[in-house]
Amino acid sequence: MFTTGFKFYFGLAVALVLSAVVYGYATGGEHVGPVTWGWKGGVGDHVGYTMLMAGGVVASAVSFVIVAFRDADPSAQAHYLGVDEIVPTASVTGSYWPVVAAFGAGIGLLGLVLTPVLFVGGIVACSIAAIEWMMDAWADRATGDASANAALRDRVMAPFEIPVAATLTVAVIVLAGSRIFLNASKNGAVLWAALIAIAIFGIGILYAAKPKMNRNVVAGLVLTCGLAVIAGGIVAGVDGEREFHHHVPHGDDHGDDSHAEDDHSE
């Protein structure tokens, strides 16, 4: 009934709530404030108190979810499947999500120091990792059959993964490309656009002409070009756009001039 997972999360919840209360009183909480979420009296330092308390609430919610859905409860599963004992299955595949999560956390921390963009990026990476990791963990235990589990996971996640991944891929090309064009001169932009397109087209022709080509060569080529475009985009983005000249309309061509304004801010 009470699985290890539940015990862990419930313990965590109690610990967090207790420390929130202690922290609340320690930083100047009054009356019963820290115990009653500030109903009567202050809670001390709002940020710390809120974070600890929120963590506690989330952990307790998770612990109840675990009980309610009897997740990872071998006896429940055995009962459900109508077998005496669950045969432990090996994890289907290795998981990269812990790495992504750690990476995301690192980026996020860096972002705290450097720029909010990185921080948001880190948060997004962590959230994606959390969702995917959870789904993997859930699917790994869904049935006793590894391939069926993988299919189940795909059934739930593929509708979101495919479009998001496709969008991100294209967004990288679009963003990197447009940064490069904006960084270059007017004629340079034309040149860059042509070059990138020719590179893509060229790789396609090369591959189509020799489909039996060594896969590593192809992968290397694609990777190199992709990285080059992304790197170019980052460099160009950091370097900034070229200087644009505000176009001054030649007044009398366009009739009524009284509305001409210099300010085009939106």
């Binding site: 990197a176 064009f181 904006l182 034309v190 893509i200 000249h245 309309p249 009524d256």
Partner: protein, 205 residues
């Protein structure tokens, strides 16, 4: 007894699945959809044509068109039609590797086109042509933006096909799926053929 008869009937039903027109439902639906899209783009193009000189004293799109750049991106889109048809041709023959490669190339060329559009919009904005500057600007951005949205959706579909092929779920027997996405892609291209001439190349009188 009745079950047996009915089963025979269902077989009959399935045999007659060769549609009345001889064209699959999906393909016919796509063509009908593309026909209706003519009316959609027609309305946007006429709106722009009507408003293209309504500058209200401000800069007009025609004042700042960057024809060399747009020529390149038009070229890119045109050639992506070639790669699309090559992808279809490869899938038809069952050469999935080659088909996948061309699908990816098509999507990437589409990406370059959209990147070019982002560049174009940004540079126009910096040069004083905002979305709300005047009717000409609103109409120009709406028209080309709409086309851009269509291209982007096309890229999404191409990428999805590529992923499906990568996972082995798209095979030679799904040729028609590739063909239908291809139809959409070519349509977006011919709309741009029209836009490139009528909007960009014809200079103001």
């Amino acid at each position: 007894m009745s079950t047996a008869t009915a089963t025979a009937d269902t077989h009959h039903d399935h045999d007659s699945h060769a549609t009345n027109t001889g064209i699959s439902n999906n393909k016919l639906a796509m063509w009908l959809f593309l026909s209706t899209e003519c009316l959609l783009f027609g309305a946007l193009i006429s709106t722009y044509l009507l408003y293209k000189t309504r500058g209200n004293g401000d800069v007009l799109p025609t004042d700042i068109f960057d024809i060399p750049f747009t020529s390149v991106s038009s070229f890119v889109l045109l050639m992506s039609s070639l790669t699309m048809v090559l992808a279809l041709s490869a899938v038809t023959r069952g050469e999935m590797d080659r088909g996948k490669a061309w699908l990816l190339v098509t999507a990437m060329l589409g990406g370059v086109f959209i990147g070019g559009q982002v560049y174009e919009f940004t540079s126009f904005y910096r040069e004083g042509l905002g979305y709300t500057t005047n009717p000409a600007a609103s109409a120009f951005y709406t028209l080309t933006g709409f086309h851009g949205v269509h291209v982007s959706l096309g890229i999404l579909m191409l990428m999805s096909l590529w992923v499906a092929a990568q996972q082995g779920k798209l095979t030679q027997k799904n040729t028609e799926t590739v063909e239908i996405v291809g139809l959409y892609w070519h349509f977006v291209d011919i709309v741009w053929i029209f836009i490139f001439t009528v909007i960009y190349l014809i200079p103001p009188a």
